[in-house]
């Protein structure tokens, strides 16, 4: 049984280091944040448990990205799921948490089953679980087996990453965990799936056919759109963010998928470039999603609600959290000059360059992917206008929101650390990409000594193209211009005369928080435009005083979760009904049971020669 004498052999190459870095930059602020977050929420023992789980969670993720043996990988991979299950069910007094944990765990397990199958097929060809042996073994693997392995790995890691339609667990699980954990789960844990894809599909398996890249691009595009559309409909702040994780995984995979296509098209420079774009977005998403979850957590801790329809006006009550959330929102909406913008620009450029350099259908295909990305960006911006605007601006919509105060210092520290990083990764793009090139080279196995995507430390310049982008310059010019304008206005016109008054109310009403625009109303145009997909429906309820007089009228609008109600629920129902029918075969009659034995032996005797 030499296969299992594994020990803990490590593989630390640029790819692993990159992921270690991502883990570190999100886990650290989250840990600091949790000091303040956990205080007063849980009992002493539970707080200690939270710390233990946090450490275990981070440790398992570190192991996932560093081990060099597939068998050990599988173990630490499941370990990571197990620890995160306990974190999701941490508030286990709520049935919701337990349910979320269960859904999460089941989906993850299905994914792991596929990964296991893929590993075992690879093992059959390599006779060892070691990565290097895997790599050697995969060279001898026939093409169609490679295809199957790829599909298994895609489903397996896709489940963890939350690719549509395997994303179903994500909006349940992420919001239920304590917020600092949500931030790590969304920021880092789902990225380990990307690591898995890079490590096992690109690094070890090697790309066999161009349709691998295509399928990833298609799934990525779908994930982008579906994620952001659902996010727009969502009024639970943390769930909203969770859906955005689906979207952003889609964007990351656009880069990865494009890279795979280019690899197969034998365009190494572009492949590296596209992968850089994907990886850049990966680290960016880790940063700003971590940040947003931390902010959402402090909103939740301070106001005790995550429903944005109950929030509002928090910018005055918790200004620093608001600022951090605003920065996060801008980053995720790809607003200049923050980091989300850089990676989205890079991805668009990668798709564009791919489009130029390829022929025929791929020109259009890449273009459509880029268009999807653009649409996603627009919708994401809309969503975060909603999220920030409804939560932080205007008037508080409930007593709970009115009574919130600024979060404790440790929490703010965690948030501002990440907020700072969004700026740094926005401005230092040219430096970051130099490292990413090395990482991509490691993943794809392409020599990257001659590949350079920067002009100097300030200007991004994709090789083989004449476009440039300099985010520091953009920021500089923008600040200068605004400064000039402000100065011009101030010195040209003098001090502004400002009168503070009530909001214009058409002269009729006293406006209060009940007349504010709501999140539901905000998302209405989107609901109507995407009604073919969202299938919205209404529930109205009249409460009558008498048959002539309606005392109050309740109106709620819902959307149908297409994947849940048309894929998962029917499948589960089918399995469940089959199981129920199966139950009828055991009605308690011993005569029947004896008959089973009788029939079994008869059938076996009849078909004895078939075995």
């Amino acid at each position: 049984m030499g296969y299992f004498k594994t020990g803990l052999s490590m593989l630390i190459d640029p790819l692993s280091l990159f992921f270690l870095f991502v883990i570190a930059i999100v886990s650290l602020p989250s840990a600091i944040y949790s000091i303040g977050y956990l205080k007063g929420e849980y009992s002493r023992a539970k707080t200690a448990l939270a710390w233990v789980l946090l450490v275990g969670f981070v440790a398992s993720m570190v192991l996932v990205v560093t081990v060099s043996n597939a068998f050990v990988f599988l173990i630490v991979w499941e370990l990571m799921s197990l620890v995160s299950y306990f974190l999701v069910t941490f508030d286990n007094k709520h049935e919701k948490s337990v349910m979320a944990g269960t859904i999460y765990m089941i989906m993850t397990h299905i994914g792991t089953a596929f990964i296991t199958a893929a590993f075992l097929i690879m093992f059959k060809y390599s006779n060892s679980f070691d990565f290097t042996a895997f790599k050697l073994g995969c060279q001898a693997m026939p093409g169609h087996v490679k295809d199957i392995v790829f599909l298994f790995l895609l489903i397996g890691f896709g489940t963890k990453a939350g690719i549509v339609p395997l994303h179903i667990w994500l909006p349940y699980a992420h919001p239920q965990a304590p917020s600092h954990i949500s931030s790590i789960m969304s920021g880092v844990m789902i990225k380990t799936a990307i690591y898995g894809l890079l490590r096992f599909v690109i690094f070890i398996l090697g790309i066999n056919a161009i349709w691998w890249g295509n399928i990833i691009l298609i799934l990525a595009s779908i994930s982008c759109l579906v994620g952001v559309i659902y996010a727009l409909m969502e009024h639970d702040l943390k769930r909203l963010l969770a859906y955005h994780s689906v979207e952003n995984i889609g964007i990351i995979l656009l880069g990865v998928g494009a890279s795979m296509v280019f690899l197969k098209m034998n365009m190494p420079v572009l492949a590296v470039f596209a992968l850089c774009a994907g990886l850049y977005h990966l680290v960016n998403h880790a940063i700003f999603k971590g940040l947003l979850f931390l902010c959402a957590g402090s909103v939740y801790k301070m106001s005790q609600t995550r429903n944005i329809e109950k929030l509002g006006g928090l910018i005055k009550l918790m200004p620093q959290t608001a600022l951090a959330f605003l920065i996060g929102s801008m980053a995720i909406s790809a607003i200049i000059p923050l980091n989300g913008f850089i990676s989205e620009w890079l991805t668009l450029q990668a798709l564009f360059l791919g489009s130029i350099n390829s022929i025929g259908g791929y020109k259009i295909f890449m273009g459509i992917c880029a268009a999807v990305l653009a649409l996603t960006g627009g919708l994401a911006a809309a969503c975060f206008v909603k999220a920030f605007g409804i939560t932080f601006l205007g008037l508080p919509r409930s007593k709970k929101a009115e009574s919130s105060r600024e979060a404790p210092l440790t929490m703010r520290l965690g948030m501002f650390f990440l907020a700072l990083l969004t700026v740094v990764f926005g401005l230092a793009a040219s430096i970051v990409i130099k490292f990413l090139v090395i990482v991509s080279g490691c993943a794809t196995g392409i020599g990257v000594e001659k590949i350079n995507f920067t002009l100097n430390n300030f200007v991004l310049a994709p090789q083989g193209s004449t476009v440039y982008l300099s985010s520091p310059l953009v920021a500089l010019v923008l600040v200068t211009i605004i400064g000039f304008i402000a100065a011009g206005v101030y010195f040209g016109l003098g001090r502004n005369k400002v009168a503070v008054n009530k909001t214009w109310d058409c002269g009729y009403y006293n406006l209060d928080s009940r007349t504010e625009y709501t999140a539901t109303a905000f998302s209405k145009p989107f609901r109507v435009a995407f009604s073919f997909f969202l299938l919205p429906y209404r529930k109205t309820k009249k409460i009558r005083e008498s048959s002539y007089h309606i005392k109050s009228f309740r109106y709620e609008v819902f959307t149908t979760s297409v994947f849940k109600s048309y894929i998962y629920e029917p499948v589960i129902k089918l399995i469940y009904i089959t199981a129920k029918n199966l139950r009828r075969f055991q009605p308690g009659s011993i005569h029947l049971y004896l008959a089973y034995i009788f029939v079994t032996i008869l059938l076996l005797l009849i078909f004895v020669n078939r075995f």
Binding site: F341, W345, G360, K363, L375, G394, S470, N496, K497, V498
Partner: protein, 296 residues
């Protein structure tokens, strides 16, 4: 030297922007057989607004206050990217065509937030619609840019302002970009700059709470935005004589004429009809892309 030219370019565009708006109004009025206000009316408006006291809602936060500056800053920021006068210089190292889309997104983002800041239902409605339409416009714009850039071989604006870009696909893309321009400049049939009827307005609803110099800045910014879009269209469709300031003005005036004609010929659409309209333009963009991929 280059910096100086850029500086002039920026100031010039800022300066003429209100005039173009006045020009369009004048053309419209003339076509309608009306006398109408002077072409310099926008300048008078701005002057008046700059001089007025500002009234701010008590519900607002700092977002509301900084937004005019950011919006203005954004539109101005796009100007140095355009390869115009002075041997078609531009701040090419700063970014490319795509950057313009991203820059405008920043302004829009803050404007929409400002709409929500005053806790007024009008503002919220405006923000919602603005974000809705702009989200739908984004893929249309991008695909059109994509098609044009494919012809140019680069998304760099300098590369685009070249004769060899002029292909069939570019023209189809330009039609699409023209629709984008109509949307982005709040023109009929998407939006109506002249109405304050609450159920129809989009851009005006967002800035409803603004007054005084803030409003002046926002108005001015929208004039500039209009110029920028006209410029982009002219660069692609008529890639000649960009260095010559008079030719440039003639091209821009032609754009104004077209816009004015379209405005008097159409009525405003229902909000959800816009989706169909934009799908049509998306279809155009895709067609452009397909034709371009064939090489035409």
């Amino acid at each position: 030297m280059k910096i100086l030219f850029l500086f002039i370019q920026i100031l010039l565009l800022i300066a003429i922007a209100p005039f173009l708006s006045g020009l369009i109004k004048k053309i419209k009025n003339t076509l309608r057989m009306r006398k109408g206000a002077s072409v310099f009316q926008p300048y008078y408006n701005l002057q008046k607004l700059f001089g007025k006291e500002e009234v701010i809602s008590e519900n607002t936060s700092w977002i509301f206050r900084i937004t005019p500056f950011i919006v203005m800053g954004c539109v101005v920021l796009t100007i140095p990217l355009l390869p115009l006068f002075g041997l078609a210089v531009s701040l090419n190292y700063m970014g490319d065509f795509l950057l313009i889309i991203f820059i405008l997104a920043l302004g829009r983002f803050f404007l929409a937030l400002a709409g929500l800041d005053a806790a007024s239902a009008f503002g919220g409605m405006g923000s919602s619609r603005e974000m809705f339409i702009s989200a739908l416009v984004e893929p249309v714009a991008l695909l059109a840019v994509f098609a044009v850039s494919l012809n140019a071989g680069s998304t760099s604006l300098q590369a685009i302002s070249n004769f060899h870009v002029m292909k069939l696909s570019s023209f189809i893309a330009v039609i699409s970009l023209f629709i984008v321009t109509i949307v982005e400049t709040s023109r009929l049939p998407i939006d109506n700059q002249e109405t304050h009827l609450e159920l129809t307005m989009i851009h005006e609803a967002m800035v409803l709470e603004y007054s005084g110099r803030s409003l002046a800045l926002l108005e001015w910014a929208s004039y500039i935005k209009q110029v920028i879009f006209f410029t982009i269209l002219s660069i692609i469709t008529m890639p000649f004589g960009s260095a010559n300031i008079f030719i440039y003005f003639i091209k821009i005036a032609a754009m104004c004429l077209i816009i004015a004609v379209i405005e008097i010929l159409t009525a405003k659409m229902r909000l959800f009809r816009v989706v169909d309209f934009l799908s049509f333009s998306l279809f155009l963009s895709v067609t452009a892309l397909i034709i371009s991929s064939i090489g035409l």
